[in-house]
Amino acid sequence: MELQTLTFIVVGLTFALYIGIAIWARASTTGEFYAAGRGVHPVANGMATAADWMSAASFISMAGLIAFQGYDASLFLMGWTGGYVLLAMLLAPYLRKFGKFTVPEFIGDRYYSQTARIVAVICLIVASLTYVIGQMKGIGVAFSRFLEVDFATGLFTGMAIVFFYAVLGGMKGITYTQIAQYCVLIMAYTIPAIFISLQLTGNPIPQLGMFSSTVADGTPLLMKLDQTIVDLGFTQYTAQKTNTLNMVLYTFSLMIGTAGLPHVIIRFFTVPRVKDARSSAGWALVFISILYTTAPAVGSMAMLNLANTVQPGSVAAADGSLEYEARPQWFKNWEKTGLLKFEDKNSNGRVEYRGPKFAGTANELTVDRDIMVLANPEIAGLPNWVIALVAAGGLAAALSTAAGLLLAIASSISHDLLKGIFNPNITEKGELMAARVAMAGAIGVAGYFGLHPPGFAAQVVALAFGLAASSIFPALMMGIFNKRVNNVGAVTGMLVGLGSTLIYIFWFKGWFFVPGTAMAANTADNWFLGISPEAFGAVGAMLNFASAILVSKVTAEPPEHIQHMVEDIRTPRGAGAATDH
């Protein structure tokens, strides 16, 4: 069957499945809309969390990032998984015991301060909205690339699907669709990886194949890869290329940013008990790790495949590089998309892929990192249905993350702003309606930005993680672990953390990302102690902790009922009763 028809069928089937789930899992109370009625099994919640967490970037771009950065990209692997340990031990169980619906609600109650709640709402909306724009873009790209439809058409189709199950089902609809989406995306990711691993190393498990010997000549895969890309003029794959302090802080920022991202935290409000919140974080990490441990294998193997394809002979030999006319079919396919670009600078009809150790003009091939996942099935010569599945997997990853973020935004608007601040007497029915309207509005705004991406779209991940790491995570953790931190301290801490991180990011990337307003070039020489703007969230968090504790020490201690509240959330018993007020 024609690839495009097949892709339409596979993607269509998955969409029909999501819509079917949406009709089955409608929400009829605010408890169901915000927290799926708190009846989600911890394993099911773990799976939904994994889909919620793994975005279009995890699915499409991460393996490519690893392929081109080698060891240095380890910080993404550790950073985006290590946060779950913090969630399981420092946040999730206590916030579940607290038994409310949103993250700002905890911050507002614990610090008995509307100001704290509003600061938290602002951080949440900025972090989630910037994040969701990336997903919308991912949906449009996946559609236009695989189904060859217009970017806008693709985006609108995606929005319509999300609209359907998120507005109708809220957290309940989103949870069950995310479970289906996880199954689609993990199959789409692992099947090509298994085949590539088999071809290169004879080992069907990519995680082991990566550390095995190659079938071709028995040298270990990573050793061969190091050798191959050094010959091409790149730095060793397994070598560290950036400074250690930056790598440590960058990893730490991603970890605490992960733990502080509201759309991840609210997933743990859906399980029945405190002990389920603990184990559910473990299950989430099981399902995430299946993809995250496969990604470095895909990255290294795809890189080796690419290098071997374009450089079948020795680099020194005149006929060592691939003859352009003899290039394989997948090469031709991806040239059409612009992700693979060849320019025959020396007109010898050969594809010369060269790294920075050669003269700047030596390289003739430009490779987009996304190709490492997208073209993987074709490079491995897998049947068309696997390629169609990869398209459906990329869409599932983008849709599931978008829906989770949109729910976090919608619930903080309807629950924190409308009910919490403007109209505390709103009826349950009224609030449910408001939540649906907020959800629809959020989808509209996200769609608008997806269509007209602001210039800073590429910077948003740094911003989202920076905000979550420097403001939300410390406020939550101190709220649970330090009874002495009071309202003034918490608000000061959040503003200091947020302010310092934003200023540092804007300093090097331009004020509000407006081009040309950066105070210094964004290069390692200018960075404070070599800390990149992406890694600064960790420093912002330290400043937050320090200033909050200091200010709290010199101001009045929190009232007694707040201290009781903290004691109460520290023990699991009574979580069921503290639910749905």
Binding site: G82, V85, L221, L222, K275, R278, L285, V286, S289, E560
Partner: protein, 87 residues
Amino acid sequence: MSTETTSGMAYWKANVRLISISLVIWAVCSYGFGIILRPALSGIKIGGTDLGFWFAQQGSMIVFLVLIFFYAYKMNQLDRQFDVHED
């Protein structure tokens, strides 16, 4: 001031202790073996590269997983021991 019971305080102390131990292991296996101590471990070879590289790209994640389930299991025990469990 606080009216927290002695048993409640002991439960929380035991929890914080367990978290501290877990997070030390968490940090040593990721920031330690994966990044800072990698040069010191470079003598230990595994599958064509060094142990630090394995920890950075595979091992740390496996350790994280084990830690969470270990913590969840130990906490269930503590919950019962201090009689603060649910159900």
